[in-house]
């Protein structure tokens, strides 16, 4: 991927806090700090991975990017347009260009709609096809995602998990978008099906010229599939780097711990897995220093007091850690 391609999406200082209400008057009693100042840019045609443990804010980030959630503050520029603060109507017009693939293909498809109806709804709403051409358009889409034509008139419950994820992908493609956020698209699938769906996404990306943000907790999948990866921890990006030499380039202790905790597929290469002590701190109250300091094997006094900033190391590599020069 050429690093000179223009940025399609530019995110500055994105903050997302969810209010927690309670008490007699249902007042806001605390806030969940889901995203704490995330900045990123996605170049046209690239695949950006977002990885982290559950609760790190990766899915919230994905949903903010296509404005399924309204961020508390920050800016999301898509091309020349600012998405934060856009009205509902303007947003609808915009959704033609950006779509989402969800993790759970069981719960994200309407059980009472056939595949044809689900796809037609999207294509008709965004007027990508005339009513006359609709039948052929939908059949073409269905074959593109590797389903048989007779699948068009079946209901979601008649498909297996992998096939349902293909329908989810077809629905995302139905309005011919240029940008797709895929939120854990293969996590619910068996390995053999996971490989099929990853290959399909790779083919469709080339064919439709898509730009992808790929959210996953599985670093192996990200490493295989993405060009660049953002590593998130407790609502912040701790490292951003190219996937090509992930193991050699990783510098943040958390990224290294994630890599080290992944079991290697070789019984002759048994090594003690990197075991991080403790759990992720509560997102209700952020620690003053580095969020990772409590679990970090190389933490010093400074890490508990001052929060490090994301600093550029080399082109395309940013780390937020005091211990990294």
């Amino acid at each position: 991927m050429s690093s000179t391609a223009p940025a399609l999406l530019e995110v500055q200082d994105l903050v997302m806090h969810f209010p927690v209400r309670g008490g007699v008057f249902n007042r806001v009693i605390s806030r969940v700090h889901a995203l704490n100042g995330v900045s990123l840019s996605v170049r046209k045609g690239e695949t950006l991975g977002v990885v982290g443990e559950s609760g790190c804010g990766k899915s919230t980030l994905g949903k903010c990017l296509i404005r399924l959630l309204s961020p508390t503050s920050g800016s999301i520029r898509y091309g020349d347009e600012e998405l934060v603060g856009l009205s509902h109507g303007d947003l609808m017009a915009h959704r033609k260009r950006m779509q989402m693939i969800f993790q759970d293909p069981y719960s994200s498809l309407n059980p009472r709609m056939t595949v044809r109806e689900a796809l037609r709804e999207v294509a008709a709403f965004h007027s990508v096809e005339t009513p006359n051409g609709m039948g052929a358009y939908i059949e073409n889409l269905i074959s593109k995602v590797g389903l048989r034509p007779e699948a068009a008139d079946k209901f979601p419950h008649e498909f297996s998990g992998g096939q349902r994820q293909r329908i989810g992908i077809a629905r995302a493609l139905a309005c011919n978008p240029e940008f797709i956020v895929a939120d854990e698209p293969v996590s619910a699938l068996d390995v053999s099906i996971q490989a099929q769906v990853l290959n399909l996404l790779m083919d469709l990306k080339d064919e439709f010229g898509l730009t992808l943000v790929f959210v996953s907790h599985d670093l192996k999948v990200i490493e295989h599939f993405c060009d660049r990866v953002l590593v998130m921890y407790l609502g912040s990006v701790v490292e951003e780097l190219d996937c090509e030499n992930l193991h050699a380039d990783a510098q943040h202790p958390y990224t290294k711990a994630l890599l080290g905790a992944n079991p290697i597929n070789d019984p002759d290469d048994r090594r003690p897995l990197t075991v991080l002590q403790g759990d992720v701190p509560s997102p209700f109250e952020l620690p003053t220093g580095c969020a990772f300091a409590g679990r970090c094997p190389v933490a010093e006094d400074r890490c508990h007091q001052d929060r490090p900033r994301l600093e550029r190391k080399t082109c395309g590599h940013q780390v937020s850690c005091w211990a990294v020069d």
């Binding site: 068996d190 390995v191 053999s192 490989a195 790779m202 490493e223 711990a257 290697i264 990197t274």
Partner: protein, 332 residues
């Protein structure tokens, strides 16, 4: 492995488990046999619906009688008894005491309205003669064994106050509190993050060495298998299709399905970036539409007429067995 010389702690012979459904009877686990030795970890791998969970629940007799039954030739030999014929009373003595089980989803397997201490106490009260204070000490000791932080405080908390990793530790503590001979772990780390998974696997390995427990680890994650198992049994559509030591399975798989499964995982660190993954075409056949011959035939790249005509038997070749007419042989 030296342990293969000792007596197996569990012998499963010709285990077939059937379910009664509206559309007739299906055989979810078909003629499964294996031995489990003390101190070893046996991995059972396969995709969803291959019968790995039903196998473990059949051993524990946890499947409801009104919808499922075991074929008469099925035998689960444990402590000189056939558990398939054991009475409910006898089974209660075995479950939780001699054979314990950990489930995939710790939140749904813990009772949300009782404190952790109460749940640990339940098994101890049933299976031991300790008095109340001694049982509480034992429960705290178990929580310490599974490296739960602040066990004295945590024992009085409810499941919702614990994180996912801590809940799974409680499940393991409950399973181990009577020092069972066999621990059956059904996808114990699938719902957990990799960093927490590493903690739990580390813990299970340590416990196996300390208590010489035999572990049956059911998982679909081959990385986990490579790191912790001694032997591996691969299942497909209710059948065992290959069974061997972990090294043999990873370095020279004999069944095309095993090889294909290994190839379809994204490789970490290798220069595979951005390449297409080798896949297994198609999907697992439904249990109602099983083909007459080899069950893997429709997805197999080495399929020949013989695979359609007759199903290969699970044959033993030099301490490893596989079910294929055309095994891959040599180094794959």
């Amino acid at each position: 492995m030296s342990t293969t010389k000792t007596q197996p702690v569990l012998q499963v012979k010709n285990l077939s488990t059937c379910f009664k459904t509206d559309n007739g009877i299906v055989t979810a686990v078909d003629d499964v046999s294996f031995d489990l030795y003390p101190g070893e970890t046996l991995g059972i791998v396969g995709e969803s619906g291959c019968g790995k969970t039903v196998t473990s629940k059949s051993i524990m007799r946890l499947l409801p009688d009104h919808i499922s039954f075991q074929k008469p030739e099925s035998q689960v030999l444990f402590g000189g008894r056939n558990l398939c014929q054991a009475s409910p009373r006898e089974m209660r003595k075995v479950r939780g005491d001699r054979i314990a089980m950990i489930f995939q989803e710790p939140m749904t397997s813990l009772n949300p309205v009782f404190r952790i201490g109460w749940q640990l106490d339940e098994a101890l009260e049933y299976h031991t003669n300790l008095d109340k204070a001694a049982r509480r000490d034992r429960a705290i000791e178990m929580l310490r064994l599974v490296e739960m932080p602040e066990p004295e405080r945590r024992i009085d908390e409810y499941p919702h106050q614990l994180s996912g990793g801590m809940r799974q530790r409680v499940m393991i503590a409950m399973a181990l509190c009577c020092e069972p001979d066999i621990l059956i772990a059904d996808e114990p780390t699938t719902a957990l993050d990799v960093t927490i998974q590493a903690q739990i696997l580390d813990l299970m390995n340590g416990l196996k060495e300390k208590l010489n427990t035999a572990i049956m680890l059911i998982t679909h994650d081959l990385g986990v298998v490579a790191q912790v198992c001694d032997r591996v049994m691969v299942m497909y559509a209710g059948r065992v299709i290959e069974s061997a030591t972990v090294r043999e399975v990873f370095h020279s798989p004999q069944h095309p399905y095993t090889r294909a499964l290994l190839q379809s995982i994204p490789k970490s660190g290798a220069r595979q970036h951005g390449r297409r993954l080798p896949t297994i075409p198609g999907i697992v056949p439904g249990l109602f539409e099983l083909p007459d011959g080899c069950r893997f035939q429709d997805r197999c790249e080495l399929k020949e007429q013989r695979c359609v005509d007759e199903e290969p038997a699970l044959e033993l070749h030099d301490e490893r067995s596989y079910r294929c007419h055309f095994p891959l042989g040599g180094q794959a």
